[in-house]
């Protein structure tokens, strides 16, 4: 399976994004953004932000064009990098859910603890990207107390 890191290297080495911008192939760039989002390689907020930036590039005059194009490329690479650098939310949530089951089945938490912790996990599931990490860290610590 191709990792995010390999994709990043390929994007950077081939210079494909700058070439597409230089040739003003905005349709392909737009398709690229959507494909990256559909594959989970960029977040929804990054998709929206980058799509707006692309729109600005299409309307930019010659002077502004190069500056915006350079920014776009950097931001896109950064968005993929950030996404790949942290463990995917899906893995973290799944691990927590399984841990709750184990704790309950081993008799380490009561049914009311299970409900309380499940509702807490719901809050983490609903959290935005910034809040997610903080809440997940707190939750992990809380579960560790029961595991001891």
């Amino acid at each position: 399976m191709v990792s995010e890191l390999m994709l990043l290297n390929a994007l950077e080495e081939s210079n494909v994004i700058s070439v597409l911008i230089k040739h003003k192939d905005f349709e392909t760039l737009n398709r690229l953004l959507n494909a990256l989002f559909n594959q989970g390689l960029i977040s929804r907020s990054d998709l929206q932000r980058l799509a707006l930036k692309l729109l600005r590039i299409t309307n930019a005059g010659e002077e502004e064009f190069e500056k915006l194009a350079e920014e776009f490329e950097k931001e896109l690479i950064m968005a993929i990098r950030i996404r790949s650098s942290r463990k995917r939310d899906i893995d973290i949530l799944r691990e927590f859910n399984m841990k709750l089951e184990k704790l309950y089945k081993r008799g380490l938490i009561s049914r009311s603890d299970l409900q309380r912790l499940a509702l807490k996990l719901l809050r983490i599931t609903n959290a935005g990207e910034e809040e997610f990490e903080k809440l997940a860290e707190e939750f992990e610590k809380e579960l560790m107390v029961f595991e001891k």
Binding site: L93, R94, L122, T125
Partner: protein, 164 residues
């Protein structure tokens, strides 16, 4: 008795029997999804534990939603009755949140037995047409960002406990 953790193959046999008993036509293993129900064009992914709902959601986002969107088709994750309904909350919320904003109808089916299902759907959305005669429909409220609220989660829990 719950079929949870019995394995996807066992749950698959049970699910197929439900479809066949109710004379519902289907295509198995369609584009990486377990079932395409042809009468109403419903995409169904089976999972044998609540924990697998997260991955099923990801798979749907990648493979199915681009097609389902064209038809405003229902996308369904079907699971056996969970032993601990509390553990359904986060995966269910993940499914509804991640698939919000797409032109699809979302449903989570809980298979209680060969003759009984629960369909969890978003409130004010018309449920899929099939199997309604054997289904109990539970509506959940989502906020404007597609998130399952704590209040709605608690209400859902007390409903589900009647069946576990």
């Amino acid at each position: 008795m719950s079929f949870e953790h019995a394995g996807e193959e066992i749950f698959d046999i049970l699910f197929r029997r439900i479809l066949e008993y109710n004379h519902i036509n289907y295509i198995p293993n369609f584009r990486g999804i377990d079932y395409l129900i042809s009468r109403e064009l419903i995409f169904v992914e089976l999972e044998d534990t609540v924990h697998e709902i997260y991955n099923a959601t990801y798979q749907m986002l990648r493979n199915i939603i681009p097609i389902a969107q064209l038809y405003y088709a229902p996308i369904v994750i079907a699971i056996p009755r969970p032993e601990l309904p509390e553990l359904l909350l986060s995966p269910l919320a993940y499914f509804f949140r991640k698939t919000s904003g797409f032109n699809v109808r979302r449903e989570l089916w809980i298979v209680l037995s060969e003759r009984k299902l629960i369909k969890i759907i978003e409130s004010k959305v018309t449920p899929s047409e099939i199997l309604n005669s054997i289904s109990r429909i539970i509506e959940i409220k989502l906020d404007k960002h597609g998130k399952l609220t704590e209040k709605s989660a608690k209400r859902l829990l007390s409903e589900l406990r009647k069946y576990t």
